[in-house]
Symmetry: C2
């Protein structure tokens, strides 16, 4: 049976001695000048040239960070921008990261009803079941939107359990307008994101989901912006690793991330995409 | 200025005399035997052969339905299943549908924070802004997941307003577990999906969103399974067209769909993907 994803991620964190994830959200206009200095490339209207530069940036970044951090998060939106060729590039980057020993998180935020979610789970997370594509490398984990409830999440759970993969369900996102829905208060005093967190903990603790370290292969995306909220969500989801986005660019106080830790010194995986990460 | 999407959709409904949308969720194993009868294709492990059969099915379906219905909904998950080649096929099918005069709804259910949502909006909904891809045809509208709030929806609104396109935000989905989160009751007596509906109505009625017929280019995905709930959501979102999934396979009572109509005999766009639609 495949190794539990949480165990794999915690082992990688232990080996690199830092619980951090580097996010790659490549935007052509923001690439370093060494990569886009060719005037022929200085026009985003040329998708092929832009995508070549983005591929180069991603592959170089991965080679640089691989010895230093345990995990990389690739946001597929920045590749989908380039349609089918962008998706091909996304999988090239996933493969390079996997080959360099990184845990690869595909930030895809998919969410749909049962039979459709199964399609997403099989392509975005599962290893290919087509014999003519068996060299294709899929991410080790993906992000999932749980607004549709458990039957949209179950197909991802099935793949995770069977193939030693993981998923992180959006509980409290880090964007300014997240509060509009996620912080609404329910009649029993909980907030919407706390209710989502309770579902997540329940999904996370079903059969064969918990690894040797006591964490589930199903984790949560939790914003690092509000310390009190983090502590509540930590108590609601004791078996979940937290993927904590927005360190830096989204003004997350590193002190808040500490509240994601449990007494075993584990728990959070802070992710930074648009900033230098300082330890 | 581009024509308002709601006006375009209502005109197409008027022309075809039926407010209906055919959903295409192509699964290789369920294709008609005329298309997958070749033994060489009878193995889903051969992605290329499976995708060829799916492409053929989609193109033939579109040629058959184009004279009869105003709109088609393509669920991208069933194409993503085949990675980059699947995405290329998705856009081929979108183009064929658009060329045959159908309103094309891309059922992508994307949802992310601001700068990432912008990437999704520009590729999944916007017409390509790359000169080497300017023959690429994008859908007329897409579905969007609003769990992250307004700054994840705004980029889609911007594209819709500027390019005469539309979006349908998930308010109440039709799957069995939708109630877990969407029907949770807030302290003020509303449910979570009603709160989402109020945000949707607010987004739908901002500057330049309302067309000549009084409907916004921003609509809602609303399940047809509960008549009382539909009537509440209809009252909350008077300016929104409702995309109503699940007619047939998901046991929606056609009587419920009637509750989506307003006094102007407009309002719902029922969508059926896995059943024959009867009028």
């Amino acid at each position: 049976m495949a190794r539990n994803f949480a165990d794999s991620l915690l082992a990688a964190i232990g080996e690199k001695r830092v619980p951090a994830c580097v996010g790659i959200d490549p935007v052509y206009a923001r690439l370093p000048s060494e990569i886009n200095e060719d005037p022929a490339l200085n026009d985003e209207t040329d998708s092929e040239a832009a995508l070549d530069a983005i591929r180069e940036f991603c592959l170089q970044t991965i080679r640089i960070i691989a010895p230093m951090v345990p995990a990389v998060k690739l946001n597929i939106a920045f590749f989908e921008r380039y349609y089918d060729e962008g998706i091909a590039t996304y999988y090239e980057v996933v493969e390079e990261a996997a080959n360099r020993g990184l845990i690869v998180i595909g930030d895809v935020k998919r969410g749909d009803i049962g039979n459709t979610a199964e399609m997403y789970a099989r392509s975005a997370l599962g290893d290919p079941d087509f014999s003519d594509l068996d060299d294709r490398v899929a991410p080790d984990a993906v992000t999932v939107n749980g607004y549709l409830g458990s039957d949209g999440v179950q197909p991802f759970i099935d793949v995770a359990r069977n193939e030693g993969k993981g998923l992180f369900v959006l509980v409290r996102t880090s964007n300014p307008s997240a509060a509009e829905l996620q912080d609404a208060r329910l009649e029993d005093g909980r907030t919407v994101c706390e209710l989502m967190g309770q579902h997540v903990e329940q999904w996370a603790t079903t059969d064969e989901m918990i690894g040797d370290a006591g964490y589930s292969c199903l984790g949560a995306v939790v914003s690092g912006s509000d310390r009190e909220q983090i502590m509540k969500l930590r108590a609601i989801m004791p078996h979940c690793l937290f993927l904590v986005p927005g360190w830096g660019a989204q003004d997350v106080d590193p002190e808040n991330v500490k509240a994601c830790f449990k007494s075993d010194s584990r728990g959070p995986v802070p992710s930074a995409s648009r900033t230098a990460m300082k330890f």
